[in-house]
Symmetry: C2
Subunit: 437 residues, 2 copies
């Protein structure tokens, strides 16, 4: 059996909260403000922001003042920030395309900072696989405990699906179908969205973002990586129509070099399970299907996870389960005699799991921070808890690390290569740790 | 505009009905008895059975007597049957694995039969592609008008979907997802089903049957063939559990060499449309999805075709349409001025198309016979109707021929090769007519 899967953090003030240094937090806008900041506010006994880095000094000072970060010191110089000893964890919440140029020198400078223990990097983990491999290796050599923002793993729906399967409630998985709608990459582009999102190489394409998050969740739920894969990638909409804030066409188009459709299929190592996954980039015009669907079929039951938005890591979902639960089958008691089967034995159960007011955008990031605190403070009193771990893998406990992220980065790279080579690829090698570490 | 898509056959007795010679019709059982016989009975002004071939003379005579085929003569010798002049059409309704050895000599013998015009062959068109190519060429050299039983093309749901798309009611197609459940190929096997169904090479595997029919319908609806494809084929259930007539396990297993799962994806030539298609072989345990789904997404609407059974060619379906109809957009009138747009312009329409009592097993075969009669008698008075055509292609009128069947046979062959080669294949060549004809 596992440890209690719920976080055990308390609201009792903590003498030594985790001191956080932020890159990418701004009082005015951005993902860090929207999600990291509320998570830390809610976990004020576990985390305190002690440093804010911004090249623009006024911005750093304003952010500290406006967000009332009374314990924080502003930095405009990456070296001073990286060596600032009053920091346990550095959060790099900038776009994927800027991560490499910040994190590599940061890791080098931070060698002189013996207090620094954690490095938290936003998905998509650099612009491409080559950068991600280098960042992974540099962080491993530096000896930091890393965290990657594949926060969908903390979604209660993903956890519940994983639990149902792990506890054998659908039997052996024999088939999986996934379908997502990635709304950004369609015929229209809001003038508010930066062009970089639609240029290849920035790590913001639908394979890297929508597929990356989704396939990480699928592997996490099923507790298996892929053995072989094939992909076809389409850019059928090379020009997008610009629309204004009300959605009205502005009479101009803008080029798009990122894909608008991914067809992916492959099989899982465990059980040789066929998996089909399609990602459609367009406004959710699908009238008769949901914009996010994972269908998992097993020998004794099925799980369906559905959502109105195509992004499982940040949208609210519904989980449907139907199957014959294994705990209705008699289990040997302590004296070796089988326990009497319950009256429900062999009957089919149905479960609809939905948290009506769950705010997934905040909730999943919040739960990721909770799991960092659970680890740091060992709030669950796990005996012999190691001081560091390389990857979360398929554990319920813990949090995804750069190694977990690297596996997805390598899968994404294989997806692009499969498409360009026109080949079905063996991807078992993507689990290998970098040879030089 | 098209000719009226409905059949124009009448019930007025016809002086010269199409004289049909049957191979595979038996009074006691079989697909011909179940579907061809009722179709011909309903179309008694258009068709009359004049010959029945069976190696077993008693069976031939009994079939004629028991089915009251008063105009029919029994044959036990293929040569005499093939040269019998009182026949316009020969129907070969035997299993795929027996078709080649019957049809090849039949075609040779029939050179001496100047009355024979039509050859109707059951899907799956021989055991494999090589045989199908030979049969196609032999029939072409013989100069017969061929018919292949891809009768799903005649399904009213398929016709309606094709019509909605053809008349531009969903705009440009940009994405297609197909999911079918092929119940036979799962964990359990009824002892009533012959072993041959589960042995590779008989043309009865789920790629050749379920996928073959379904992908033919998809191409027919969208009016496009594929440009490239990739497939992964699984046989994860190499032993099936035998069950009795009540579905109870008999304590024995039987080997299965045919696949139980197909993952297919590719893109259509027209519009480079991404298509995903998964065929799962197992009892329909999917609780939260239908056993047959085609989702077609377009720029201005969507079509969903659903069914409870995974076989579109012989199960009743439901069609859902939502979109902006093109006939609500102003059209130039005769004098060149635009007609006033209707009040419905730009509004979204919804259609649920379902014939509650439609019997698809009989209905689609019946409609196929209707279309043969429509052609033979030119019941629609189409001017300059050719006396023969090589293929139906994507026409509403007519019926699928061996060339249409050969294209599907070649696609199926490419599916198997894609899987074994681990390659994404260009399949544009499958449209080429055999070079020797």
């Amino acid at each position: 059996m596992y440890h209690n899967k719920r976080s055990a953090v308390s609201t009792v003030p903590n003498e030594d909260p985790i001191r956080v240094g932020f890159i990418g937090l701004s009082f005015s806008k951005g993902w860090a403000l929207k999600t990291h900041r509320p998570a830390i506010l809610q976990l004020s006994s576990q985390f305190v922001i002690t440093a804010v880095y911004d090249e623009d000094e006024k911005m750093a000072i304003d952010t500290i003042e406006r967000l009332k970060l009374v314990h924080a010191k502003p930095f405009t110089d990456l070296e001073s920030f990286s060596t600032f000893e009053n920091v346990d964890m550095i959060v790099v919440s900038v776009q994927a395309s800027q991560q490499y140029e910040i994190v590599m020198p940061l890791l080098e400078f931070s060698r002189r900072n013996s207090n620094l223990k954690y490095l938290f990097i936003e998905w998509a983990f650099a612009s491409n696989l080559q950068q991600a491999e280098k960042v992974y290796q540099a962080a491993a050599i530096r000896g930091l405990q890393t965290i990657i923002a594949l926060q969908g793993r903390k979604s209660p729906y993903i956890q519940r699906a994983k639990e149902l399967i792990h506890e054998n409630n659908i039997g052996e998985i024999n088939s999986i179908e996934i379908s997502c709608n990635a709304c950004w990459y369609g015929y229209e582009r809001s003038r508010k969205v930066a062009n970089g999102m639609f240029e290849m190489g920035n790590g913001l394409d639908l394979v890297t973002t929508t597929f990356g998050h989704t396939i990480d969740l699928l592997q996490y739920i099923t507790e298996s990586y892929f053995s072989k894969i094939n992909a076809l990638i389409f850019n059928n909409i090379p020009e997008q129509m610009l629309v204004d804030d009300l959605g009205n066409p502005m009479g101009r188009t803008s080029p798009k070099t990122v894909p608008d459709h991914l067809l992916f299929h492959g099989c899982l190592q465990r059980g040789n399970v066929p998996v089909s996954c399609t990602i459609k980039g367009d406004k959710p015009t699908k009238k008769f299907t949901k914009n996010f669907i994972i269908d998992i079929h097993g020998t004794r039951g099925d799980i369906k996870i559905e959502g109105d938005a195509g992004f499982a890591e940040m949208s609210n979902l519904v989980l449907y389960y139907s199957g014959i639960r294994v705990n209705d089958i008699p289990i040997a008691s302590d004296n070796g005699h089988p326990v009497q089967p319950s009256l429900d034995q062999g009957k089919e159960f149905m479960e609809v799991y939905h948290l009506r007011n769950y705010d997934a955008v905040h909730g999943n990031v919040f739960r990721l921070y909770q799991s960092i605190a659970d680890f740091h403070f060992n709030t669950k009193n796990i005996p012999n808890l190691p001081s560091q771990f390389v990857m979360q893998g398929f554990e319920f406990e813990g949090f995804p690390t750069l190694m977990d992220g690297l596996i997805i980065r390598r899968l994404i790279d294989s997806v692009y290569r499969s498409n360009s080579m026109g080949a079905t690829l063996d991807v078992t090698h993507i689990l290998q740790f970098p040879s030089s570490v």
